[in-house]
């Protein structure tokens, strides 16, 4: 019994861990933004500096979570299947011509939410659990 209990607790622990780290990342914008939904390509184009606007032509200001954070690396892995280092290298190359700029870094998820609350141009990625009513989800990064 003791053994079953310990195995169960272990399984629980593992599942709870996996849950806390495999939760979906969602792309969010200001609630008042006219954009309701974005495709994955549109998200990539905004985040990788191809376009500096939303598909409707309004400026877009992508926000990035702190460097070397678990969320940031998860985001880029799921979006373009590249590590954070590779993304940094990409930006280092692009930065040289000065045409495109990397997304602005924020200090935390809350900081990102605060900025989104004030700006209609902002766009950020947050775990689904941190969703507030000041933002709306335009794209959902699934596991698959």
């Amino acid at each position: 019994m003791q053994l079953i209990k310990s195995i169960m607790s272990l399984l629980l622990l593992v599942s709870s861990y996996s849950y806390s780290y495999s939760q979906d990342l969602v792309i969010v914008v200001n609630k008042n933004n006219s954009i309701n939904e974005l495709s994955k390509n549109e998200v990539i184009d905004i985040y990788m500096g191809r376009y500096m606007t939303f598909p409707d032509g309004k400026s877009a200001k992508p926000l990035d979570l702190p460097a070397n954070s678990k969320l940031k690396s998860d985001f880029y892995l799921k979006l373009v299947n590249q590590s954070e280092q590779k993304i940094n290298a990409y930006w280092a190359r692009v930065f040289f011509s000065g045409r495109a700029k990397p997304p602005e870094s924020v200090e935390s998820i809350d900081d990102a939410l605060n900025q989104l609350k004030d700006s209609e141009f902002g766009i950020a990625y947050i775990p689904e659990s941190k969703l507030t009513d000041t933002v709306k989800v335009v794209y959902r990064l699934n596991e698959d």
Partner: protein, 532 residues
């Protein structure tokens, strides 16, 4: 242009020509293949260049970053191999740098979306600089050709040196040595020295020449010795031939004289002439029939190898007696050469003097020294012969025995000289009348004469007439001294042989008796012997 005849230069020249041709052909192929190869290499280099820039170019296209695109384009263009670059991605991104006219080949690389796999977002096209590549290939080929040429020249140089050292120089040496040899002078046929350690063809050639020369020298010196001996012999024989006092000549099958010596010539050259009148031997010796017969005999008759003959012949005005010795030449060579005509050697001696002396002696022996009529001994011999001939031929021999009348008084009255003169004159008159070659006139002794004449048919009348005629002749006066004549007469006994005697002795006896009869009948008459 005169090309040197020296072997090493010609060999070098030949090699040079071949090397040049080979170089040209090789260069041509190496140029074409090199050009291909170079092109392939350069194209792959261009492709690699393009690949190097692939990611960045993709990014520039993705971001529609003209600046980055320009950077990339110029960067690629700065490469010698690239003539033109075009970067295209969507409507906003159509960049071209450099030239791309007249470029046949192009290398294109698909530019993929940097973040979304399998999505093409643009095309990077590079235009390789064909002229540059070609120039490079050409330059390489030229270098190669140059190297090959230099190589060839070095090889030619050393080959010609090697040929000169190994072939020409030994050959030159051989030629020089050889030029000192005069085949006509065996002393100069020295052995050529051989470089002892070399075993090459030239050394073998020299050895071969040496052994050949050794044999040749041996043969030649033998030959020379033999020749000298032959010459000596020949000179000796020639001396004998030319200095011989006897005339010597060779007569061929046609009786022509083929060879003769000076003595022979001197025998037959007329005084004042330069050469002999004919080379035909029988004609030259003015006795064609007899000599032809003799030649036939000596040539055809088996066992007759030598013949001698005394020939009287006329050279100019001279009459010569020549003793000839004919000998058939049986050279050993004749047996080998069957068809060689047989020659006859003739040795001639001028025996005129001797013959004349002999004639003189003979004449003196046969004739009376005073009257030059036949003497009794010779006369008797001739009479015997004549009688035999007449009997044989059924001829008659008219024989007259003559005795001078009243001869003794002449001797007594006028002396012996006058008597001799009478005898000489009578003899002359006898000879004058009986002058045929077959007539025989003999001084039988003292004042007794005998005359014999051969006649085919005996005619008494004719015989008597001849005898009477002779008598009349004798009775003509004879001048014994100046202004002194004397008359002699003769008694003649006439006989006819063989009617009046089968043998001479008998005939003579009958003639004698007829003559006595004439004397007894009163002298100065002719009495014909009559058998009783």
């Amino acid at each position: 242009m005169k090309i040197s005849q020296k072997i090493y230069i010609r060999v070098a020249l030949n090699i040079a020509i071949v090397a040049l041709l080979v170089s040209i052909v090789t260069s041509f192929f190496s140029y074409t293949s090199g050009l291909e190869e170079k092109k392939t290499i350069n194209y792959s280099l261009v492709k690699q260049l393009a690949q190097t820039m692939q990611k960045t170019a993709a990014m520039s296209v993705y971001l529609t970053d003209i600046d980055l695109g320009t950077e990339i384009g110029n960067g690629l263009l700065s490469n010698d191999l690239v003539k033109g670059v075009s970067l295209s991605g969507g409507v906003d991104m159509q960049l071209t740098y450099g030239e791309m006219d007249n470029v046949l080949e192009q290398i294109s690389i698909n530019l993929m979306h940097p973040f979304i796999p399998d999505v093409q977002i643009g095309l990077l096209t590079l235009y390789p600089d064909d002229i540059y590549i070609q120039q490079q290939a050409q330059g390489d080929s030229e270098k190669e050709v140059l190297l090959m040429m230099v190589n060839s020249i070095i090889i030619i140089f050393f080959v010609s040196i090697a040929v000169h050292q190994r072939l020409t120089r030994p050959l030159q040496y051989l030629t020089d040595e050889f030029s000192q040899i005069d085949p006509s002078l065996p002393e100069t046929m020295q052995m050529l020295s051989v470089r002892s350690r070399a075993k090459d063809e030239i050394s073998r050639l020299i050895k071969g020449i040496n052994s050949l020369m050794y044999e040749l020298r041996l043969t030649m010196s033998n030959e020379r010795e033999l020749r000298i001996k032959t010459q000596e012999l020949e000179a000796r024989f020639r001396l004998i031939f030319e200095q011989a006092s006897a005339g010597i000549c060779l007569v061929n099958q046609q009786n022509m004289i083929t060879v003769y010596n000076p003595a022979f010539e001197s025998l037959f050259i007329k005084e004042g002439d330069v050469e002999m009148v004919t080379m035909n031997f029988p004609i030259l010796l003015s006795n064609p029939d007899k000599l032809q017969e003799l030649f036939d005999t000596i040539r055809n008759k088996h066992g007759v190898d030598q013949l001698t003959l005394d020939i009287e012949c006329t050279v100019g005005k001279e009459t010569k007696w020549i003793h000839c010795l004919f000998a058939k030449l049986t050279e050993q060579r004749d047996s080998v050469r069957d068809n060689q005509e047989s020659l006859i050697e003739v040795v001639l001696h001028d025996v005129t003097e001797r013959a004349e002396k002999e004639f003189q002696t003979q004449f003196e022996a046969d004739h009376d020294a005073l009257t030059y009529l036949l003497n009794r001994r010779a006369g008797e011999r001739k009479l015997n012969n004549a009688l035999s001939e007449c009997i044989e031929n059924e001829h008659k021999l008219m024989l007259m025995m003559i005795d001078l009348d009243k001869f003794k008084p002449v001797n007594d009255n006028f002396g012996h000289e006058a008597g001799d003169k009478v005898l000489v004159e009578v003899s002359r008159r006898i000879k004058n009348q009986f002058n045929l070659t077959t007539d025989i006139c003999i001084r039988w002794g003292g004042d007794e004469f005998l005359i014999a004449r051969q006649v085919e048919d005996f005619d008494l009348h004719s015989a008597m007439t001849q005898a009477q005629q002779l008598l009349q002749d004798i009775e003509q006066p004879i001048e014994v001294k100046s202004n002194t004549n004397c008359d002699v007469s003769a008694s003649i006994g006439l006989v006819i042989g063989p009617n009046d005697g089968q043998v001479l002795h008998k005939l003579m006896m009958n003639a004698d008796s007829a003559m006595y009869q004439a004397k007894e009948s009163g002298r100065g008459q002719v009495i014909l012997f009559k058998k009783t």
